[in-house]
Symmetry: C2
């Protein structure tokens, strides 16, 4: 008998009809003689509505009260699911995070789950019951409600899978899996059947909205295989795993791209130890996210050119901060907007030489100019003009046999 954790996202339970559909999916797994634990998000739209109310009350709404408010969304959706399952003849009940309990560390609105109490839960699933557990939340040491970030129900599912020692964790969402690249950008994009945690981490942080990186990281740390699947269409989804066997010898698993990047180059910076820190400290303080950073080796040992990318909307603020930064001296500033980062990702590149060359060659064949390059062990990213993104994805998709 397998223990399966099923997680449903906001759009999956977005209406009464959707909740009825979700209960049919749960019933399907239950009838296969599995032990089932369900985690649900709030019905889509509900959380935003609650957030708006808090904003109308105060432009600096207290975080603890915020958590008390938004956590109610899951309490409602879970009770509706349990009520529906009872209606169609199953034993089911909802569980809030204080009832289990799900304990968290860290600040309100961005806490992390540290412990899941499973004593009562285990007894309940052994007796054939289907527990429905509120995602995205827990309680703090002083018994107040915390939330774990907007997409935190995935994390709840994975931590539950860990503590209950589940055999499977299936994330039902509004996409039917992870694709080789964004299907909106390139119509030959293919669904990935299996992907490694690390690859998924690179995909996630680069814009694939399927799963939050922290949840993938949790799954990796706890060696929990995740299946991402659509609750709207019954197609097989994507397995996110660390298990090596049964993988094809594909070198590149996927291609991701960003939008609205901007590039700043500081030319002729007086080079001295700590100069990079001096440049980035005020940006960090102002919550400006710096992505790619490239520093040329100083030619004469006295001056250097530093290039980095940020989001376009932060460009003006960044320019101001650099100009009023008294702790650095430089010759010139140059800016570039309407840029995009295109990345190829795959654990296969660790053991396969020549991938970088093949990427650059493919882009060159389409006369796509590369502005910045940055590499990790399983990822190569290039900064190019946003105009060329579609073309770049197409040529790379073909080059690495993803079509």
């Amino acid at each position: 008998m397998k223990t399966v954790v099923l997680k449903f996202g906001g759009t999956s339970v977005g209406s009464i009809d959707r909740i009825k559909k979700v209960c049919k999916i749960i019933a399907f797994y239950k009838k296969k003689k599995n032990r089932i634990v369900v985690v649900s998000s709030a019905m889509s739209g509900v959380t935003n509505e609650l957030v708006n109310k808090s904003k109308l009350i105060s432009n600096n709404f207290d975080r603890a009260e915020y958590d008390a408010i938004v956590s109610t969304g899951e309490q409602v959706s879970c009770a509706l699911i349990a009520g529906r399952l009872k209606h169609i003849g199953f034993k089911s009940r909802s569980w809030t995070s204080w009832q289990l309990p799900i304990l968290t560390d860290g600040p309100h609105s961005s806490a992390r789950i540290s412990f899941v109490g499973i004593k009562e839960l285990s007894k309940y699933i052994k007796s054939g019951g289907i527990p429905i557990i509120t995602g995205f939340q827990g309680i703090s040491n002083d018994f107040r409600i915390t939330t774990i970030g907007r997409s935190g129900s995935d994390a709840t599912a994975i931590m539950l899978a860990k503590f209950i020692k589940a055999d499977e964790c299936i994330i039902y969402t509004d996409v039917d899996g992870v694709y080789t690249t964004d299907p909106k950008q390139y119509n030959k994009a293919k669904k990935i059947k299996k992907i490694f945690y690390d690859e998924m981490l690179e995909m996630a942080s680069l814009g694939s909205k399927v799963m939050q990186p922290t949840s993938v990281q949790d799954a990796k740390l706890n060696k929990i295989d995740i299946k991402v699947q659509s609750s709207f269409v019954s197609k097989s989804g994507t397995l996110i795993t660390g298990t090596k066997k049964t993988f094809s010898n594909q070198i590149i698993t996927g291609i991701s791209s960003t939008k609205n990047d901007a590039k700043i180059t500081i030319i002729g910076v007086k080079d001295r130890p700590g100069v990079a820190a001096s440049i980035f400290r005020p940006l960090s303080k102002n919550l400006i996210n710096v992505d790619m950073v490239v520093q040329n080796i100083s030619q004469n040992g006295k001056e250097t050119d530093l290039t980095f990318t940020i989001k376009s909307e932060d460009l003006k603020k960044t320019e101001k901060l650099i100009k009023k930064n008294k702790s650095i001296s430089y010759k010139k500033l140059s800016f570039d907007k309407d840029l995009s980062k295109v990345s190829i990702i795959g654990v296969g590149m660790i053991t396969t030489p020549g991938i970088t060359y093949r990427m650059f060659q493919a882009l060159a064949s389409k006369k796509i100019n590369i502005l910045v390059i940055s590499t990790s062990e399983i990822k190569i990213s290039v900064l190019i003009s946003s105009k060329s993104v579609k073309k770049a994805i197409a040529v790379l998709h073909k080059e690495f046999k993803l079509d």
Copy 2:
């Protein structure tokens, strides 16, 4: 330094603007150097919306899940109030019933509060904080959320006042007090400044929508004075108390009336011990509420006439149930619809003779026919044609000097 419990009903916190207004009322009491405990209902409309969702899921929705759903309304309104109070410079936080805790006995959706934990709460109010507590709910012995009936926030306020030993309990609502009779029925209706618990109990059960009878009963048992006041207009409200002094020597405190009553008379019932029980058992089983009951003394010791009133909508069902009741035999059934019960209420009638006569005389002077009479120590009710209700209220209001 006084400890004051302030309770706000659904319409009082019915919008973001209303919540801001309510926070000004709370601030007013706080600035007077009181210790404040606030109890709030859900924003009006919210509970109904949640109930509708549960109905769409199942026409027989599980009561425990129902409680989990509807209890979220108060969690949101309380956190919004606490957030607003913090915004305007006060120390405040929300408290749910599991955090305090508020323990309850009895079934889901109609539980009763048995205990309120005040240890943390007392410390908090002594430190100058304003706790905002979810009304209408508690937790059961097995740590599940319970609710205490649709208007149960009043009960929460009264039990909190009891456990925290409050000096005052002020119920803010959308009416500005208890009136001598329904102002919609009679424009000379006057606000009652002070009313006894028992009088209020008779008023409440007869249709005055100001407070639930169980809450008045709780206040009476725990000797807690209640002030009912409007959060919309700043006028003095009504004090509900058990204290004798400072009362005027008014004999009648108020006049209430019902709508849509129906009367059934069973003529020539074979009289034997237990016959009344035989008649009412099937009605009770079918949740038909019997109000007034009058049985004539059997003339020959063998037969009797039994008259009782029910709501008009139950008339057909009641007729059917009596006709198929094999355990009774009778000569004839007679029915009457479109009737109303008009009652005069006042503890003063205990010590003042002749009230019954004055009531009947006043009604006779307007040619109003009395169909059934029923009396208690502090109330006299008569059943009359609904057409005559306005006339009856007017003549009685004048007769007992309430104008």
